[in-house]
Structure formats: structure tokens, C-alpha cells
Amino acid sequence: MTGTTSASGLHLPQYLREAADLRTPVGYAGYKSTGLRAPLRGPVDLPHRLTEVTGPLLGEGRVTAADADLTRQHAGEPQGQRIIVHGRVLDSDGRAVPHTLVEVWQANAGGRYRHVVDNWPSPIDPNFTGLGRTVTDGQGRYEFTTIRPGAYPWGNHHNAWRPAHIHFSLFGRAFTQRLVTQMYFPDDPLFGQDPIFNSIPEAARPLAVSRFDLERTVPSWALAYEWDIVLRGRDQTPYESHEPGADDGDVA
């Protein structure tokens, strides 16, 4: 292990940052809860070093095949429209992100979360927890079977309703790529009044909306929606080494 501390010894991938006009800001005036929580001082730039370009490679061993089917976690089937949600996890260079953990959670068909602080008058479904997990395959593909979540009211402003959505959590392969987000359904009439959706810059909003996928529907069984998730990509020369003959990039 020579050279690991020399100035030229570390050639790390640098992860690209999306333009500010395509990124969700941390705080947004229309979303009340940001008021006392979103930091008010600007963040300090943290160049990407070893801790930032690495990250937890979790997945295999944390999930079973059954975790990807949210309709079969109880004795009976949940109420609601059965759907398949599928897509690919990519980085912004278009490369698949294989074998990465995808965690989802959602409300039931009536828009009720199975959670102690959700108590609006819509029933709990005894056959629905609303938790799913899977790991992308070698091509970065994921797929869940679930039911379409309902919209639900919340206290942000008068008569506020969240559009139907599924929460997604992804790791990618580096600390820089960590992403927690929400997937919406096409043409939701509630988009216009939802500050969480509208906190996304307008040009990036279509990236948060899934596409109805007729081809992947299963006749007499389930509708389908497709949603690709794009994590931050890297610059183009991540593994270049100054040491001739160094073989540090391609560990078989």
C-alpha cells in the first residue's frame, strides 16, 4: 500500500451535481413544515473524498423476493387497484445501477398510512402494511406489486390534499448518490395545489411522475406504471492513475 497518502495517489470519481434549477430545494415557503427545519445558512461545499465516493452496498441478504409484493404480506389481499410499479435505476450517465437496495412505503387505497400519527377518518386496511423492499437486478431493474395509494388530506393549508404517491429510498453506490423521493401518478388533478410536488422546479417535475405502461399490464390482474430513477453520475475519468502499471481499477 505505497502512495496512498501522496498527493497524486488518490484518483477518485467526482459526482456531478444537478443544476440548481432542476433540484428540489431543501426548504420551500409553501410547505409550512420547512419553516423551522430547513437550515437558513447556505451549505459549505464538501469536495468528494474517500468517504463521499464510497457508500453502503446493501441489499442482498436484507430482502426476500416476497418483500417486493405488498399485496401478499397478510392473510388476505388488500383493497384497491392492483398495480405493478417497475423501472430502472440509472446514473446520469445512463449507466444501470445494479444490485442496489430500493425501499418503498405508501398509504393504502383509501389514503391512510399504517402509522400512529395518521388518524384521519379513512380506514386502516388489515391486509396492507405499505412497506416494500427489493434489490435491482444486473441491469438496474426493479419491480414492485402493490395497490394504487389513495390521496389524503393534511394540514398544510385549507383543504390540502397530497396527490397519490409512493415514497422511494435509494442508495446507489456512493454517499453522494443517496436519494429519498416520491413517485407520482400521471395527470393527477391534485398536483396544482400540492406544495411538495410544486417545490420541485417546474422543469424537473415530469421526472417525478410515472408513466402508465399498457405493455406491462397483466391481463385480468394488474395495471402497470413505469418509473426510471436517475441518481447522480460521475465525471468521465474516475480511475485514471498516475502510476504506470497500477492495476487498481478493475478488480475481477
Partner: protein, 188 residues
């Protein structure tokens, strides 16, 4: 090659525990691991109130300063029983708790060594994206003085907001989302 635009982030919302609670979340190493520490702290909002629905995630090098990861150009080195990653929700009076081993020093890419540190992501209702910070350790004063990231901060108050203090069984660092003591957060 044309670049794809990244998927925009969104808040974890109030119901994150449905999807993100892991029984072993806080355990970067298994219970009873010799030399392990509890890293704890309380998350505060701009009123000084505790934030009981946040999630803190940690990522760090092992005690030898290595990562079991292919993108570490020094090579991926496993450390038995060590996951590197911790996840804790703040349901108990806004407190996170991570059980881990103190990381070793790692190269800073500029000829020096970084002080032992842990990268932190904080997620909560009211945050539309994660916020990122670092945890350092007060008893590494000399290493902290040399650390390229701490040195880049404007003043000692900013540095202090990242430095955990020793406790009986580990270290403590409270996180302040806003206010006079607002924690230094990083753009990564």
C-alpha cells in the same frame, strides 16, 4: 453522450418509519463488540424544540481507515462484522443513537490525512432533501487541527458544531437545523 437529468428529491414525510425502520439500523457493529461506542445526539429545530420524526444515517471508514468498497483506489478491504452504515430514527425525544467503532484516519487526497470523521445524512418531514454534515471527535484535537474539511470552515463556532464530545459510553453531538447554533451543513 447526453446526460440524463437526476430524479428530484422529496421529503421523507412523517411516515418514514413504515419504510425505513430497520431493527438493526443503529448497529454499525453487533452489540457487545469490543471497543464499540454509542454516538448520540438530539436534533433541534429553529424553535429549539426536539425533532422526533427525523432519521440520521451515518457512513464511515473502519478503525483502520479503510472502506469495503470498490471505488476506494487503495482497494476494498472488509473489516469483519463492520457495516460502515448506521440508521437511527429520532423517535425518543429527538435523539439518534448509533453503535459503532470509531473510524481511523484516511488520506485527504492532498497529501495529508483527514481526522476521524463520520458522514451524516439527516432526513425529516419539512426537509425536501437530505441535509449532510460530519461528526468529528473532540479527543482528536491534533488530527482535527490538520483536517482539510475543518480547516475550510470559517470559524471555530462552525468547527465546534461538528465535534462530538466524550460521554460515558461514547460521544455526543447535537444537531441544530436552525438558530444561533445552526450546525454546519455541506453541499456534496
Amino acid at each position: 453522450m447526453s446526460r440524463l437529468h437526476t430524479t428530484p428529491s422529496a421529503t421523507v414525510g412523517p411516515y418514514l418509519s413504515i419504510g425505513l425502520a430497520w431493527e438493526d439500523g443503529p448497529y454499525v457493529v453487533a452489540a457487545e463488540t469490543p471497543g464499540a461506542i454509542w454516538l448520540r445526539g438530539v436534533v433541534h429545530d429553529g424553535n429549539g424544540d426536539v425533532v422526533p420524526d427525523a432519521m440520521v444515517e451515518t457512513w464511515q471508514a473502519d478503525p483502520d481507515g479503510r472502506f469495503d468498497h470498490p471505488d476506494d483506489p487503495r482497494g476494498a478491504v472488509p473489516y469483519p462484522g463492520f457495516r460502515g452504515f448506521g440508521r437511527s430514527q429520532t423517535v425518543t425525544e429527538g435523539q439518534y443513537a448509533i453503535y459503532t467503532l470509531k473510524p481511523g484516519r484516511i488520506p485527504d487526497g492532498e497529501g495529508g490525512l483527514q481526522a476521524p470523521h463520520i458522514d451524516v445524512s439527516l432526513f425529516a418531514r419539512g426537509l425536501l432533501d437530505r441535509v449532510v454534515t460530519r461528526i468529528y471527535f473532540a479527543d482528536d484535537a491534533e488530527a482535527n487541527d490538520e483536517d482539510v474539511v475543518l480547516r475550510s470552515l470559517p470559524d471555530d463556532a462552525a468547527r465546534r458544531s461538528l465535534i462530538a464530545t466524550p460521554t460515558g459510553d461514547g460521544y455526543r453531538l447535537d444537531l441544530y437545523l436552525q438558530g444561533d447554533r445552526e450546525t454546519v451543513f455541506f453541499a456534496v
